[in-house]
Structures are given as structure tokens and as C-alpha cells.
């Protein structure tokens, strides 16, 4: 087990990268503490798998270094890094039984047979495959094969980190929840450093202590699920996290007032006059139907059980609200009030903080 440090890391798949677009990973520096549970969250093609493969050594980064603890492992091959990785699609050794599959990484490390047997039994219980241990892996369902892959990832106890690359894609929803809980339990029990790549925010937010949000090869924000939700550093984070995502409205900000389509909205604190494209962002649950405020045009209402989602427009931009089930919606309302404390101001997509009162 080790702390993982990414030091000004960048990667390009082309030998002679020219523009920004040639870089699959833009320069980044991150430190993951020993024993942490982390999630890499982002849409497909944002570079999360690339980053994972660099950590496991399947890819050599074009720039920068990877450190395990204080040791530079950038040039160390995967085999020597002692790292576990579970891939998106199941990889099983067809000709082996489930038991042999689970034992394979331990056997390769030359562990004594008794220790291997004990470990395999423990992992088989964890993934619920005790009864199928002696079945050949070939004929099993994709579900079961992926559980074997997960099991092989978790079977070694001395690994530096366990990397998961969207491991639950092929697992059915109920089992997904169960396995995620298992992973969480495993993390608490053994304290491995775990890095979990996913495009599913629920998965990321429930699994990780800290979530790293990526987009187009760039790390936008790393933080606790709460901080990502309350204070997204980038409009993409605001939009990507939360369901529905954060509402964004073009605005002019002057001091402690934002002007949206001619309507003045009070802000919690004054801002220095920003340059560039200015937007305010507000979570759907921080807006309420009101007698006065922003002009809102309701398009449709979705009742999702414990709350309702009102989908509509403000000044031509889509705007969603979440209203608790027990709260009445005034008939024909056309104004919306925003909670000033929960409005964020974004300039060219990046969040800015209010000006210091003294400054």
C-alpha cells in the first residue's frame, strides 16, 4: 500500500502532439493518500481510463512522473508495480476453473498453497461464488465472469492499490448495488487505496471519499461529494453532478447583484467586476416558485416519487426545479425565486469567489 502521487503528468497518444486536442491527458498533479477511496468521474473519452492505465503501468505517460510513496515508478513495468486492476469487460482465463482464476495472481507471486486456499475462499464468499468455485470459467455468464474479474482484483492483500475501470457496467442493477457495498466494506476492512473510474455519478459519490471530476483530459475538480455538489469549481462539474444538474443562466454581475434577462437577483456577497462570459449557477432544489423573481415558463412536470421535477425555461435557457412532494405548486405560476446563499458565479465556466470585503 502506498500514497500515489501524479507529478505534472500528461499523456498524448500521438508521437508528436501539436494542438490541445492531441493530448488525451492535460498536465495535472494529484496526490492520493494511502488507503483512500477515490473516484474518477467523467463522461466517456475524458481520459479517465488513460489515467488509470498510466497508474497501473499499462501506459507510459508522455510527460511527468508517477510515484508510489516516495518511489518513482514511471518506468516500472506493470508486473513490478504490484497493483490490481479490474477492467470494464470481464477478463477470465477460460480454461481455468473459478478457483484457479482467483488463485492465479497469488500463484504468480509464489504464495504457499494454504494461504492461497484461504484467500480464495474468502474472496469467493465476498463475490458469492462459493458454490461455483470448481466450475470452468468458460461457460459462465458475463455477470459471473465480471465477478471473477473483481475477485481476482481483490485477492492479493499486499497490493499498492486496486484500480477499477467501470467494473460494474455489465452487472445487473441489483447485484451492482450489492457489489458496490461489498467493495466499500472491503475498503473499510483492509484499507487498500482504491481508485474507481466511472461515468455514473451515483457510483462515484457513494463509493468515494474524494471524487475527481474530469472532462476532455483535464481535472476540473477534486473534492468530497459534498463540496462538488455545493461549490462546483466548473460549470461542467455543476452540470454533471446532481440530477438534474445545476442550472446555468447568462448574467451580468455588479457587486452583490446579478442581472439576468433584465431582472435583478440579489447575491450573498459582492463580486469584483468579472471579465468574460459570466453565468450564475443554481441547484434545482435552491429555486422556488414565487410571486416575483425571474420569469419562468413551465414546460412539463415529472413526478419521481419523493419529489417533483419542474422542467422549463428562463429567458430561453433550460431551467429545472426540484419541489418536494408535499409542497403545493401554485397553479399558473410564472416567477421563480433563487436562494442567494446557493448561487455560484462562473466566469468562462470557472467558479469565482466573492471579493474580500476589505479588498
Amino acid at each position: 500500500m502506498a500514497r500515489i502521487t501524479l507529478d505534472s503528468l500528461a499523456h498524448s497518444y500521438s508521437a508528436a502532439p501539436k494542438g490541445d486536442a492531441d493530448w488525451a491527458l492535460k498536465p495535472m498533479s494529484l496526490t492520493w493518500r494511502d488507503g483512500g477511496a477515490y473516484a474518477l468521474l467523467g463522461s466517456s473519452g475524458c481520459g479517465k481510463t488513460t489515467l488509470l492505465n498510466i497508474i497501473s503501468g499499462l501506459l507510459r505517460p508522455s510527460r511527468g512522473r508517477v510515484l508510489f510513496g516516495d518511489r518513482d515508478v514511471t518506468d516500472l513495468p506493470t508486473t513490478d508495480r504490484n497493483i490490481a486492476q479490474v477492467f470494464q469487460f470481464p477478463v477470465v482465463y477460460d480454461t481455468m476453473t473459478v478457483r484457479q482464476n482467483l488463485a492465479f495472481p497469488l500463484k504468480n507471486r509464489g504464495l504457499p498453497a494454504a494461504q492461497i486456499a484461504a484467500r480464495v475462499d474468502a474472496v469467493a464468499r465476498m463475490i458469492g461464488m462459493v458454490d461455483t468455485l470448481d466450475r470452468r470459467a468458460r461457460g459462465l455468464t458475463a455477470d459471473a465472469k465480471q465477478k471473477i474479474s473483481l475477485g481476482r482484483g481483490m485477492v492479493r492483500q499486499d497490493v499498492n492499490a486496486i484500480l477499477f475501470d467501470e467494473p460494474l457496467t455489465v452487472i445487473d442493477p441489483q447485484m451492482k448495488w450489492e457489489l458496490r457495498t461489498q467493495l466499500k466494506a472491503l475498503h473499510r476492512e483492509f484499507g487498500h487505496t482504491m481508485i474507481y473510474v466511472t461515468h455514473d455519478q451515483t457510483e462515484a459519490l457513494t463509493f468515494a471519499d474524494e471524487v475527481v471530476v474530469m472532462s476532455e483530459g483535464r481535472v476540473l475538480q477534486a473534492g468530497t461529494p459534498q463540496s462538488l455538489f455545493d461549490a462546483p469549481a466548473h460549470t461542467f462539474v455543476g452540470y454533471f453532478i446532481g440530477s438534474p444538474g445545476m442550472n446555468l443562466l447568462d448574467a451580468q454581475v455588479q457587486g452583490a447583484t446579478a442581472l439576468v434577462a433584465g431582472t435583478a437577483i440579489p447575491l450573498a456577497a459582492p463580486y469584483a467586476a468579472p471579465k468574460g462570459r459570466v453565468q450564475i449557477g443554481i441547484r434545482p432544489d435552491a429555486a422556488r416558485p414565487a410571486a416575483e423573481g425571474l420569469p419562468f415558463r413551465l414546460l412539463r412536470t415529472e413526478d419521481v416519487g419523493h419529489h417533483r421535477i419542474l422542467r422549463g425555461e428562463i429567458a430561453g435557457a433550460p431551467f429545472n426545479m426540484v419541489v418536494p412532494e408535499d409542497e403545493p405548486i401554485p397553479a399558473g405560476f410564472d416567477r421563480v425565486a433563487l436562494d442567494p446563499a446557493r448561487i455560484g458565479v462562473f466566469v468562462d465556466d470557472w467558479r469565482i469567489e466573492p471579493a474580500e470585503r476589505a479588498a
Binding site: 499499462l58 513495468p77 506493470t78 508486473t79 486492476q85 469487460f89 477460460d94 495472481p105
Partner: protein, 288 residues
Amino acid sequence: MDKPVNNRAWFLVLPVLVIVAFSAVIPLMTVVNYSVQDTFGNNQFFWNGLGWFQDVLESDRIHAALGRQLLFSAIILAIEIPLGIFIALNMPKRGFWASLVLVLMALPLLIPWNVVGTIWQVFGRVDIGLLGHTLAALGFDYNYVNDPIDAWATIIVMDVWHWTSLVALLCYAGLQSIPDAYYQAARIDQASRWGVFRYIELPKMSGVLLIAVLLRFMDSFMIYTEPFVATGGGPGNATTFLSIDLVKMAIGQFDLGPAAAFSLIYFLVILLISWVFYTVMTAQREAL
């Protein structure tokens, strides 16, 4: 819902039936016909029952040829299958070199059998052949015309040169179908090179390997043209394989009856051994 039944649909099979009849069934039946009769020319035939079959089965000459044939196929498989796998494992996976190597590998397969035989016949000659002359100049006592061992070596090297590509290309196709994730997982699991071969590459290749073994067995067991051109079955009978013997018997001596019986037995032997190979290897695949 009832499916419409129309027996006239059988007429659709007719063209295939006619073609197969003329290309396979009728010629085979002619052979069967010859095999149970004797003739002294003049288109007069006499019933001989299973006499020819008995003669063939008891013939020392044919036993010897069968022995040589089995030995030849065994040596060919023992060399070409491992060598083909080894070459396939070391071929470049993609890019310009992969295409180039593929073309080079395919070249021997495109050369007609008798040309291959002629090439090696000349290549091995001690007086003018590059190989034979060089070996002689280096002090080796090499002469495939006189020495049975040299003749065998020449024919085996020739066959390896001609057909290893087929095994290699088939294995290469099998290897290409393995997703990268398998190799990555093996690296993560800290598998050795042998482990990767044994648990990933070999299982994925087993299907094409079965085909390769069958093809190479059948082909080497029926080999005729190359040794006929290169050594003519000699020195003596050293490289007289079954088919060469058969042709001698049928066309050289014009013993139609024994040759026909020989052909049928030959055919059944190939069928039998191929079936055994197929059964054993399929069972092996299941157990692998």
C-alpha cells in the same frame, strides 16, 4: 400454423446432386468397380471378390510405404506446428511490418507443388545447386540423390519451407483475435510469459490449431508431387510414399485392380486418422 409442404422442392437439390455425382460419387464407384475385378485387357473383366484387398493388406511393399508415410507425417507435424506457433507469436502485430511479413509468409503458399519440387531439386544438386554446392564446399557429405537420409532431410526441409507459413498464418489469425485486455490483465496478475502462452494464447489458438493439424496431416499424408519431382521416390524406395507407390502401381504397372483396392484403403486410412485427430483434439480442447 401449418408449414406448406411441397415435395417438388427436392428438385432444387438436383443440380448439387448432379455435380457431386459426376465429381465424386461416380469416379469413386468406378474405383470400387475396378477393385473387385481383374482384367487382362480387351475390356474383359472377371470377378475377383476381395482378393485385391487381401493382396494389398498383405503386401510388404505397401506396408513399407505406409510406414514411411506415417513417419513423414509425424516429422512434418512435429516440426511445422511448434515452428508455426513460434513464428506467429513473434510476428509484428500491426503496422507496415505486419503487412510485409504477411506477404512474405504467404509467398511459399502461392507456388505450385511441382515448381516447389523443381526448385528444391535444383537447389539441392551438388554440381549446380546453391544449397548442395555450398554444403559440399563446406565439407558436408551431402547428396540427396544417393543418400536416403539426405533425401529425407531435403524433402522435410522442403515441406517445412512450403507449409509452415500456413500454420503460422492460421495461428497468427487466432492470436490477432485476442483482445488487448487479456494481455493487460495478465500483466496486472503478474503472469509469466509461459503463463500468458498457456492460459491466454494457447486456448484462443486451439480452434485454428485443430484446423492446422488436420490440414497439415491430410496434406502430408497425401503428398505426391514434391517428392516425385525432387527425388522421384528414391534413392531406391527411400522416399516412395503411398501416393507415389500408388501411381507407380496404377499407371506404371497398369495394375488397375490392386491400385483401386489400394486407393480405397488409402482413402479409408486418411479418413480414419483424421477422425481420430479430430476427436482427440476436440476432447483436448474441452479439457484444456
